[in-house]
Amino acid sequence: MSIQWLTVQSFQHNQDLLAAINKLSIHLRLQLEGDEDAERTGETNKAREMLSSFFREFETLVNDTERGEGMPVLGANPRLRQLARSFVTAKRNRRRFRSPLFRKGAGYLQQLLHSDIREDRQALLESLQELRVLVEEHMHVDAERVLGEF
């Protein structure tokens, strides 16, 4: 009996997360450039909801991870635990990750998600861009297992 359930769930979760990031990112960019992009509003709200629920869960995981290397992260699957550890490591790498998400945490991003202030939207965009990098780097393990290597 193989552990495919975990790999495929993680793979699909990351695919959905990236799709939500991209949807919201395109919408925010177009709005910042003066295009209301009204036809995408419904889809964008769904993306916001997904990201909000992800940030809520992720904040708890990151807090647990930051309690120290000897402290276990409880009630989370190994792929999510790994993502939280990658995030904590990335926070220390200010050359690559310096957006508000990595400086102020996932909880702060929750506030930005629904803000209409231009500066907040800009900060959200920067954060989404770096979150995308983190998730893309993280998901290669699942992608290799699900799709194989060429």
């Binding site: 009996m1 552990i3 359930w5 975990l6 769930q9 990236l18 991209n22 409880l74 190994p78």
Partner: protein, 390 residues
């Protein structure tokens, strides 16, 4: 960049349309049990097609600022199409009339639970596994030879356990979290030190506690297997693994770290414990004796290197019992599994349920291996012709 992305999205669109044609051609030849999965696959085709068209529309906006987002969307779509192409369409394109045995059993399994009766399912070739997600059809994998027999069908109950888990993931995760806290307390040293050795011990305790997340998940699925299938599940599970590898009995300590399944011998021990507590003393003893005998022949001594001690057992029992209550799988009934009743059943009489049939199969096999094959052939025909089993 815009031209590169336009080329890729146009090509993906062609690929999706081609797959759609193949799927439409295959539709007339698939077993009726696979129709709901086929409908879902076609809806995924529509979704992939709409994503490619949206990417092309976004490219036509002519905004350079969103090119990185369209690139990422194209990558998501490319992986989505690969997954669709490599894994999701094959249960339809490879479908055979002989899939009906497994599909009928799987459809019955899904029909037994209010959270799963509406979820379509499909069968594919491979080692026992599943892709369980509440908002997706479940794909079950099974080795081809096992697909034509009754003896290994009970292993589907374990895979169904993964689906039940995913349907109630937050509640289940919380129960596992509580158990992990208890295991962490068991492992806590009586005296605290603050040196390098203490740090490395803390790391080791962390690994053990985290590893139990995956282990409880698997033990829960084993319990679902027994809860639904009764003794047929434990015989099926034991037979499938008992002469496979040395590591079913013993795993080196460094390989236990973050191992995705508990050592199989430990799973047997806990299955036997559950069977015994539910009144199946003879089956529990047979199971333990078989594994002990094979281990002794290999010279293996039972050791889990601190990842499991009998001190954990009461908490594990309690957690699994709570998870079973939460998941509420269909439980076998006494008349479906009673050894005496099963052996006395007339070979012409129709089993009262698939559970009775699978337990009857194991009793027949254990009673007389030589006559079993002929009996199984008739029993499968009976199951396939059973119009009452939807």
């Amino acid at each position: 960049m815009r031209d590169i992305l336009r080329q890729n999205n146009t090509d993906l669109l062609r690929e999706i349309r081609l797959l759609r044609e193949h799927l439409e051609e295959a539709a007339s030849a698939i077993p009726p049990e696979l129709q709901p999965f086929h409908d879902w696959i076609m809806s995924i085709c529509d979704h992939l097609q709409a994503t490619a068209l949206q990417n092309l529309a976004d490219l036509n906006l002519g905004r350079d600022s969103i090119l990185p987002d369209i690139l990422s969307n194209t990558q998501v779509l490319t992986r989505g199409v690969r997954l669709f192409n490599q894994r999701l369409v094959s249960p339809v394109l490879r479908a055979r009339e002989s899939d009906r045995l497994c599909l009928k059993m799987l459809r019955w399994i899904h029909s037994t639970h209010s959270s799963t009766h509406h979820i379509p399912m499909a069968l594919s070739d491979g080692d026992f596994a599943s892709w369980p997600q509440p908002n997706w059809p479940t794909i079950y994998f099974m080795p081809p030879s096992a697909q034509h027999r009754l003896l290994y069908l009970p292993l589907f109950f374990h895979e169904f356990g993964h689906l039940l888990y995913s349907c109630q993931e937050p509640e289940m995760d919380q129960l596992i979290k509580d158990l992990q806290k208890m295991i962490a307390q068991f492992l806590e040293p009586s005296a605290q030190r603050d040196d390098r050795h203490a740090q490395s011990e803390a790391q080791r305790r962390r690994v053990i506690v985290e590893t139990w997340y995956e282990w409880v998940h698997e033990l829960f699925c084993d319990s679902v297997g027994f809860q639904m299938g009764g003794p047929a599940y434990i015989y099926s599970f034991s037979m499938y693994f008992r002469v496979l590898m040395r590591d079913q009995y013993h795993v080196r300590p460094e390989e236990l770290e973050h191992r995705e399944h508990p050592v199989t011998w430990l799973r047997i021990k806990l299955l036997a414990d559950r069977a015994r507590r539910m009144g199946f003393e003879a089956d529990a003893k047979a199971l333990e004796d078989t594994w002990r005998e094979i281990a002794a022949t290999m010279g293996v001594v039972e050791d889990y290197y601190g990842f499991y001690t009998d001190e954990f057992l009461p908490s594990i029992r309690e957690t699994i019992a709570d998870m079973i209550v939460e998941a509420a799988p269909r439980a076998f009934e006494a008349h479906e599994v009673s050894a005496t009743e099963l052996l006395q059943l007339d070979s012409a009489s129709k089993p009262s349920s698939p559970i009775q049939l699978l337990n009857q199969a194991w009793r027949k096999f254990l009673d007389n291996e030589d006559d079993y094959a002929a009996w199984e052939k008739k029993a499968i025909e009976g199951l396939l012709n059973d119009a009452t089993l939807k």
